[in-house]
């Protein structure tokens, strides 16, 4: 009896998280599985429809388009973002002045409201009076219909993501660079390797775990893109639904159209995509272990 009560304070100390998770995590996930088998608008009686929602989901071109848009935007934003953040990290790792100011300046977008900045960028993307088209005009490029053309829409959203995440990833990569052993660089220098060669042969391979961390984080975030599309283009994702992402489609179905049953099925569809993507990422992370024979 005494033994069992001995750890009561410890159990009480960790209880808040587990209670909250049971109520707002476990129960909702289980319930959403049940909901995905229903037709329900949140007000009238629920109607059991079996797997009908999932059957519809598999043939729902809007959902597949949303997956496609999300992945396209993820690729179009992640690749330039990684290159840019690597350049910024390399720059900050050299002996430049005002590093503290530069670090804060590059990081600031990451903590600024996406809603607010979507409104600001919205004005930049304006066809006639936008700053971007004005600038393009200066260098002799025809104005782009930023928020009307499907591909321009995806570029616009990608630009916002790049703006928001370059600094964050630069800080991460910079920390990785600073943790690299210096003797390897001495050795490369002695071997007569130039800066470019050193970067590709020494820095990049050593930095691989940190780069993968950035890729994994951007995948987790990238699959959840919602606010930029919703603010810039509205609930329907703009012309031809080019900005319709998975989470926007979910929001739209569940909370704009009040189709809770199908919304729950979409949420499970997104979950499957996220899991598949995570497995892909995980295999990417595992690969070097196999090449090196698995040792630590």
């Amino acid at each position: 009896m005494n033994r069992r009560w001995k750890y009561l304070p410890q159990y009480l100390a960790i209880a808040p998280f587990f209670v909250l998770f049971a109520v707002f995590g476990v129960y909702p996930v289980v319930y959403s599985l049940w909901l995905s088998l229903q037709r329900w608008n949140g007000v009238s009686e629920m109607k059991f429809v079996g797997l009908e929602n999932f059957a519809f989901l598999l043939t729902d071109t809007a959902f597949w388009d949303a997956i496609g848009n999300t992945l396209i935007i993820w690729v179009m934003s992640t690749i330039p973002m990684l290159v840019l953040s690597m350049l910024v990290a390399l720059g900050l790792n050299s002996s430049v002045r005002h590093k503290d100011f530069l670090r804060v300046a590059y990081f600031l977008p990451n903590v600024t409201s996406i809603v607010a900045m979507s409104l600001v960028f919205g004005s930049f993307f304006s066809n006639e009076f936008g700053v971007l088209n004005w600038f393009l005009g200066l260098i002799g490029v025809d104005p782009v219909q930023w928020l009307n053309d499907p591909w321009a829409i995806r570029v616009a959203i990608s630009l916002m993501i790049i703006w928001r995440w370059t600094g964050y990833n630069a800080i991460i990569l910079l920390a990785g660079l600073q943790a690299l052993p210096q003797d390897v660089y001495e050795a490369a220098k002695l071997d007569g390797a130039g800066p470019v060669q050193t970067f590709f042969r020494v820095t990049l391979p050593l930095l691989r775990p940190v780069i993968l961390f950035s890729v994994v984080m951007s995948a987790i975030g990238g699959l959840q893109i919602f606010t930029e599309s919703q603010i810039l283009l509205g609930d329907r994702g703009g012309p031809e639904g080019a900005g319709m992402t998975m989470v926007l489609y979910f929001y739209n179905t569940a909370f704009a159209d009040n189709d809770f049953g199908y919304g729950a099925a979409i949420a499970w569809g997104i979950f499957v995509v996220v899991v598949l993507f995570s497995i892909l990422n995980w295999r990417l992370v595992q690969r070097p272990a196999r090449v090196n024979g698995g040792g630590k």
Binding site: Q10, P16, G25, L102, V104, A105, S113, S123, W134
Partner: protein, 275 residues
């Protein structure tokens, strides 16, 4: 002679140029918020401040209950941050320093909760809030966010190294109970970690959009981000006013962030490289 190498100067120039491009949207936001809508919709675009900032901000507060939404956001952000700091640090302290039956399994469960995507729980959470009568209430934002796995995980890592076992032992010898030990030994040592998690939580809560948008539907008590989206929906013709509202919405947060920016950025970097 200690002259700067030309390569370094070039790097410096490129970095400053990149930083200016990064900061340009903030500058241009201030420019637009201080001009009239007619000025904004002119070609070439205005790149210098106008004299209408006060008028525009006045209109924002006259048109929608912006002041109320600032207060709401403050209430939610402060309450959430305080609760998260307390519950997360208490749980982290416990997981880091006490070995009790099931502690490893429970911590494993805690880590596993990371994989649950938010939208999977969103509809039932909304339904739950409706049953509790909390739709439209700020409590619907605060209660589910009061403790989280990330904060506990992150702070446990910190606490394991930072809190010396001798200190705990000394507290025990002095007759301090578990909670007393947490307050007098754990919390003071955890202060730097609390500072980071505090800013992190405050910023994320302040900026949160999707869940407030869903659960504060048809409410007079919206948060700043939702108010901003509404302002944009209602006064899209009056862009200077929308920009003034946007400026008001981000300035407090930028100030909070700049307060602890160096410490905060160092923690972000350290967490990624160690993890």
């Amino acid at each position: 002679m200690n002259r700067t190498k030309p390569g370094t100067l070039l790097t410096y120039g490129a970095l400053v140029a990149g930083a200016l491009i990064t900061l340009f949207p903030y500058y241009q936001l201030a420019v637009m918020a201080s001009n009239t809508t007619a000025d904004i919709y002119s070609s070439p675009p205005k790149f210098w401040f106008g004299g209408h900032l006060a008028d525009n901000i006045g209109e924002v507060f006259a048109k929608v209950d912006f002041f109320g939404s600032v207060l709401n956001t403050l209430v939610v952000a402060i309450a959430t941050t305080v609760l998260v700091l307390f519950f997360d640090s208490l749980a982290a302290f416990t997981f880091a320093k006490y070995d009790f039956p099931g502690s490893n399994v429970l911590f494993g469960i805690l880590l596993a909760t990371f994989v649950v995507p938010t939208q999977l729980a969103a509809i039932p959470q909304f339904d739950l809030m409706a049953k509790f009568g909390l739709v439209g209430s700020l409590n619907a934002l605060i209660i589910p966010a009061a403790a989280n796995a990330f904060g506990i995980f992150w702070m446990r890592q910190y606490a394991r190294g930072a809190i010396a076992d001798e200190l705990l032992e000394a507290a025990r010898v002095d007759g301090a109970g578990f909670f007393r030990t947490y307050l007098s030994v754990g919390l003071p040592v955890l202060r730097p970690a609390l500072a980071f998690l505090g800013i992190f939580t405050f910023v994320n809560t302040w900026n949160d959009y999707l869940w407030p948008l869903v659960v504060l539907i048809d409410s007079n008590h919206v948060t700043l981000q939702v108010a901003l989206a509404q302002l944009n929906g209602l006064y899209v013709q009056d862009y200077a006013v929308v920009m003034a509202g946007t400026l008001v919405a981000i300035v407090p947060l930028v100030i909070v962030f700049l307060f602890g920016a160096r410490h905060f950025i160092r923690n972000i970097a350290a967490g990624a490289v160690k993890g």
